[in-house]
Symmetry: C2
Subunit: 352 residues, 2 copies
């Protein structure tokens, strides 16, 4: 605490991201990264911009990247917003669209950054309980609100809300913006992007950090009605004109142009997830149905925090949340098949 801090900063409780340990030889299953590297074409695109032109500012509007995303998702460029990771995109959505007179709504079990952004931007909120099986019940969102935000699939549960339910939510909630945070959608869901043309209050946010193996490059984007995007651009241009550096713009563009590589990685992760789910079930874990690149699992008898520690003792890191309703669950990112096998072997040792 310092006399020079603003009253705002004194009140903040910052988000704590998953650990990024600097020691090697860990099996790192704690931050939902893709176990497979980016497309070789993406790496080549990064190398290709490492030249004297880095002395120049990047395109502040990232036009080429926006057009590439627009073409890929069959929308107009004016319906695309890009940012420095989807965290920045969501933060800007809070300021541009969710800071309203009424409280916003999000699930009680969800991405733990939402309440942090709410505090940061002085956005009031109410949480809406998920069901006992950790599903989002759209009827419970049928209340006056300044906006709605949730991940789909939800985090850290992995549970998917079907597109018809999102459509029903949009039919029910026309007076405020609905933000669907699709960080994990490519691992088993159908994107709500196809609904954007019909619902002017829908904003869909995606990231290249998970399914496109580019956590290290920090690129996220939003797709919504051009008016919503314009509001976000106004905030972005009142904050930081050039959030995406040249390698990030080049890498992201190249990623959307290598569909085969992208699909191949997703297919492998999904296969490993399904196999890991079976194996964990055989080890007496209850595993929630996941449409993401992680599983959320609870053992029938063993304490989750103790299990996380015993895995760590064997150089395997998973995510444990010491929070109500989920403090007996582990969130386990899907690694390579070998990493998943090592995890299962370690759990068999621990549980024997």
């Amino acid at each position: 605490m310092s006399q020079y801090w603003s009253p705002l900063v004194k009140s903040l409780t910052p988000y704590v991201p998953g650990e990024q340990p600097k020691i090697t030889n860990l099996i790192k299953l704690n931050t939902n990264e893709n176990p497979y590297g980016p497309s070789p074409k993406v790496l080549e695109a990064i190398r290709s911009v490492a030249d004297d032109n880095l002395r120049l500012y990047p395109d502040p509007n990232a036009d080429q990247l926006k057009q590439t995303i627009a073409d890929y998702h069959k929308v107009n460029k004016s319906e695309v917003f890009v940012g420095n990771g989807s965290d920045e995109v969501i933060a800007i959505a809070f300021q541009a669209l969710l800071k309203q007179a009424h409280p916003i709504l999000f699930p009680d079990i969800t991405y733990s950054f939402y309440p942090v952004w709410s505090d940061m931007y002085e956005v009031t909120y109410n949480t809406v309980p998920v069901t006992d099986s950790f599903e989002i019940d759209i009827q419970s969102f049928n209340q006056k609100n300044g906006g709605i935000i949730f991940p789909n699939p939800n985090a850290p549960t992995g549970r998917l809300l079907a597109l018809e339910n999102i459509k029903a939510l949009l039919e029910m909630n026309t007076e405020s913006v609905v933000v669907v945070d699709e960080a994990y959608i490519d691992f088993g869901g159908t994107s709500a992007i196809e609904l954007v043309k019909d619902y002017p209050n829908l904003l869909v946010i995606q990231t290249l950090s998970k399914s496109r193996s580019l956590a290290g490059m920090r690129v996220g984007f939003a797709i919504g009605h051009a008016d919503l995007i314009e509001g976000m651009e106004r905030v972005k241009n009142s904050f930081n004109s050039y959030p995406l550096d040249k390698p990030a713009q080049a890498a992201a563009t190249a990623s959307f142009l290598d569909e085969a590589y992208f699909q191949g990685c997703c297919t492998k992760v999904i296969a490993s997830r399904d196999q890991l789910t079976q194996e964990l079930t055989q080890l007496n874990f209850e595993v929630l149905p996941s449409a993401a690149n992680f599983v959320f699992a609870k053992h029938s008898t063993e304490d989750a925090e103790a299990l996380a520690q015993q895995l760590r003792d064997r150089s395997i890191i998973v995510r444990y949340f010491n929070k109500p309703k989920i403090d007996q669950y582990l969130r386990i990112s899907i690694g390579t098949q070998e990493e998943c096998d090592s995890l299962v072997t370690a759990l068999k040792e621990i549980l024997k």
Copy 2:
């Protein structure tokens, strides 16, 4: 305007950055980029991180980069903050340190993003007139305030405030934070970083976009008392945990390790600036004394906006500000010696 916009976004007038034209064969002297590319070691550092590890998040705290900057500037790592360009760093300083009960102060002629950030973060401000010769008069800042911010050298004038004046300002102003925005300091000034150890309310901000030729990579940093930095980290971690991607962290680190290249570029730019100043003076421009990588110049008879247009007709872009007190000036970035020569040749044609 959309019914879904927040009241905040409806009120914003975003910053308009200098043009980044997409056509080639322009002589681009409008956004103060370095005419020389980054160090070859920087380019190699970027290429070296273009590998499978980009699937992993970058270090959210950028520890290696912070330590490198700390070593370079002889401060502690806890006194260093890094961000996605100095614009992001300044935006965070507004939220963490400058959002106070009293209005902040900045010069009336200065970086035009300051009033934009003030509006964005609902920070009240008063502007303090510069002198008739465009100098900052520290006595005019001797008034109750919530903070003070100014560039040194100032933009778009290039005028330098001597270190002893900054020291006097700090002696006079102990109750609020003084932010010195040193985007251009390496082209002819002495950094206030050496004062940080004595003044707990001093925050110095620098960028790698200008003197280190890395506008395309988006890296800026702040140095100040550890308590100030902690306040900024709290804001950053309530907004975006991973603002610097892996290539940006690698490039910035490498830049600080190639001192000879850095000094060589600065020396060349300074020599070109001094020569251009002489040549413009011979063409009947009044050129303000500049400690930056640009000059601010007014012709004795010709209208500035018309001159800017005539230069543009010859594929040379300079910056013109249609604003009170400076609407007869051109801000001309220092290009390569060849680009400066082309500018002088074009001006001779126009003025003959």
